[in-house]
Amino acid sequence: MNHDDIKSNVLTTTLESAINWGRKNSLWPMPFGTACCGIEFMAVLAARTDIARFGAEAIRFSPRQSDLLIVAGRISIKMMPVLIRIYEQMPEPKWVISMGACASSGGVFDTYSVIQGIDQFIPVDVYVPGCPPRPEGVVESLMKIQNLIDKEKLSDYALSSSK
């Protein structure tokens, strides 16, 4: 192998940025669609916005195979234990998008049965406003998640820094 071959076939980087690059470009979303935002999320997957361009087209309906939870719709008091269980079933690292007014704040449903924002109980990374949000808004939130992942450090993880 001569010098030119090495120059065109090898690149050097840090482990951290290689891992982040891999994670951010292969997000596997788990849609938790409970209302009209879930319908709008289907448009995000379709040809016009097409989140396959961001490597996030592998929609998994099993939380055990996904690392991005998209909560789309209002969460009732009967659904919240289900949402918590699904969040806990997802392997780490994991990220959460709260899509739309209802998931983020309860929206217009200020009643006994609707959770007033899922971030009271589970961590949320990016909120998307709108009722429902435009598909472009969801793509923007996906890019924001990618930016978050890009800035992560390996020492952000408790296991890696505990030694």
């Binding site: 918590i84 780490e92 009643t111 006994y112 589970i122 961590p123 450090k153 993880y157 408790a158």
Partner: protein
């Protein structure tokens, strides 16, 4: 035609259970006592009103009426396409009346819904448990005197943290 005949027959046959008949917006409403609802509806079904289109309840707390609660049955005759609403009144102290599940299977879930949201007991119902609210829920939220924001049920969940992921970097 059938509707007028039926109403006249029912009033004649059940002078005590029938409180009155009224008409509103072109629809006939038959007001009856809650305890006699099964016999009245059995007669109505035999008279041709064979279809239970809907079953729901009204809390008359601020509306007035014979009693606190009215369970309303929306009947339809498939032959003549005539409709009849039957309102059965149940008191607040003893909110119970016979189940009509034996007449119409569809009443099964609808009576469970009325029980869940209003706390009205349907005697003889095969499986009178909550249908929409969580099983351990307390109270009946469609009663007018139930607090609109509930009794802190919506804040009563464990707070989940990020696990091995620490707080996200701020920059």
């Amino acid at each position: 035609m059938l509707l007028e005949q039926t109403l006249a027959q029912i009033k004649e046959k059940f002078p005590d259970p029938v409180l009155e008949t009224t008409e509103f917006a072109g629809e006939q409403i038959l007001h009856v006592k809650g305890q006699d609802i099964l016999t009245v509806l059995t007669a109505l079904k035999a008279n041709g009103f064979n279809f239970l289109a809907d079953l729901t309840a009204i809390d008359n707390l601020t509306l007035g009426g014979y009693e606190r609660f009215a369970v309303s049955y929306h009947l339809l005759c498939h032959k003549t396409a005539e409709r009849l609403t039957v309102k059965a009144y149940v008191p607040e102290e003893k909110p119970s009346l016979p189940s009509v599940e034996s007449l119409w299977k569809t009443a099964d879930w609808q009576e469970r819904e009325v029980f869940d949201l209003f706390g009205i007991i349907f005697e003889g119902h095969p499986n009178l448990i909550r249908i929409m609210n969580p099983d351990d829920y307390e109270g009946h939220p469609l009663k007018k005197d139930y607090p609109r924001l509930g009794r802190k049920e919506r804040g009563d969940f464990p707070v989940i943290d990020r696990g091995i992921q620490k707080q996200k970097p701020s920059k």
